[in-house]
């Protein structure tokens, strides 16, 4: 896994875990890799992975079964979407809005573009 420039490592690992769940690589109610396994495969400090798992537990994406390990919550996908939405709203939207403002892009134009994008990308044969 390549780490990006400017986001805390433990959050990037969180994205990595969420992505695996969303893509169905790790299934609902399955056990996720142990802290050690994930730390080894990502070459990071196990305490960092622990911090990620604790964060995801707080977000109700993972659940901790004492002595056994971390498991993917039943409604993990729903929780990830909530969590990702907050992240998107807080982090990426302000940048996007700033550009809209600076480049004088109106909401009408934006909406047309958006509809076209959805049609082309997600409603293919």
């Amino acid at each position: 896994m390549e780490f990006r420039e400017n986001k805390a490592i433990y959050l990037q690992i969180g994205d990595y875990v969420c992505e695996h769940i969303l893509l169905g690589k790790w299934k609902s109610e399955d056990k996720v890799p142990s802290v050690r396994e994930l730390a080894v495969s990502l070459e990071v400090n196990p305490n960092t992975v622990m911090r990620t798992y604790e964060l995801l537990q707080n977000k109700n994406i993972l659940s901790n079964k004492r002595g056994i390990g971390f498991f993917i919550a039943e409604d993990a996908i729903k929780q990830i979407k909530i969590y990702s939405k907050i992240q998107f709203m807080d982090e990426e939207l302000p940048v996007f809005f700033r550009n809209l403002y600076l480049l004088d892009i109106g909401f009408d134009e934006l909406e047309a573009r958006y509809q076209k994008f959805v049609k082309e990308t997600f409603t293919n044969p």
């Binding site: 780490f3 990006r4 400017n6 805390a8 070459e43 990071v44 400090n45 305490n47």
Partner: protein
């Protein structure tokens, strides 16, 4: 694990390398020891291992005084020096002669590590390259199951794939009852591996904080224009890489080189933030 109180150390009495140094290190962490050349990183590690003796102050490692060089403590320390020498014998002969000193020695784990590092056990130590020898003593040292692992510039001499193997091995070596201290110049090799930074500068510890604490207090980011909040800045491609106080609970990624330079250059501004 390690308690240092008011330690004074120098190779001559008039020129002390550490003045009144105090610090505590505990198990379950990988400490990254940073400092300029000659700041005394190796000397601090040697003090902890009992290879040199301090002028005054106290130093306790797992309750022992390392200067006494008691076998019970020595068996619980894995010290990987920057430069080392291995006798010109075969690997298995070396293991046979040295492993029995360590009661908890894990032969199976050693084989796993040697395999991970691609070192055949029938090799003669003298015919191996510096990097291979280094990987061998790291593997041997970790297989002793020592509670304290001290490494002086461990990634020196390792090629790119070996560095990745090293990071994997170290990530798996950290257990709750183990304390790992790594000194390094090559901060980029290890920046995701260490969880606590110890910085030596001007005969003292100028910073000792976990990465979590550092990123809670400081933000590392790019800025187009400098303003008065900036603690330290370095010119970058489009603007500046800066260290600023973390006013907005931002979760940035620590840039360890930038932090290092900031600590060296702006000691006065950083001190109040971390105390």
């Amino acid at each position: 694990m390690i308690t240092i109180n008011n330690l004074n150390f120098g190779y001559s009495k008039h020129n002390l390398l550490f003045k009144d140094m105090s610090m505590q290190l505990s198990a379950g962490h990988i400490y990254g020891l940073l400092g300029k050349n000659g700041a005394g990183k190796s000397s601090l590690l040697k003090n902890i291992a009992g290879l040199v003796y301090a002028q005054s102050g106290s130093l306790k490692v797992m309750g022992f005084d390392p200067a006494k060089r008691e076998p019970e403590l020595l068996a619980d320390i894995c010290f990987i020096p920057e430069e080392f020498y291995l006798p010109s014998i075969k690997i298995d002969a070396y293991i046979k002669a040295n492993a029995p000193f360590y009661k908890k020695f894990d032969y199976a784990y050693l084989n796993v590590l040697l395999e991970e590092f691609n070192i055949p056990i029938s090799n003669k130590l003298v015919n191996m390259s510096y990097g291979q020898k280094k990987k061998f003593i790291i593997a041997f040292g970790l297989a002793t199951q020592a509670k304290l692992v001290i490494m002086d510039e461990p990634t020196n001499g390792l090629d790119i794939p070996s560095k990745a193997q090293f990071r994997k091995v170290m990530a798996s070596a950290l257990t709750d009852d183990r304390c790992i201290v790594i000194s390094t110049h090559q901060v980029r090799d290890l920046d995701n591996l260490i969880d606590t930074v110890i910085m030596l500068d001007e005969s003292t510890i100028s910073l000792k904080a976990s990465i979590e604490e550092i990123t809670q207090k400081l933000t590392f980011k790019k800025m187009k224009e400098l303003d008065e909040t900036v603690i330290y800045a370095e010119p970058a491609l489009s603007g500046y890489n800066v260290v600023v106080p973390n006013f907005h609970q931002e979760d940035s990624k620590m840039d360890i080189e930038l932090l290092f330079n900031a600590v060296i250059a702006e000691k006065k501004k950083l001190k109040p933030i971390f105390n």
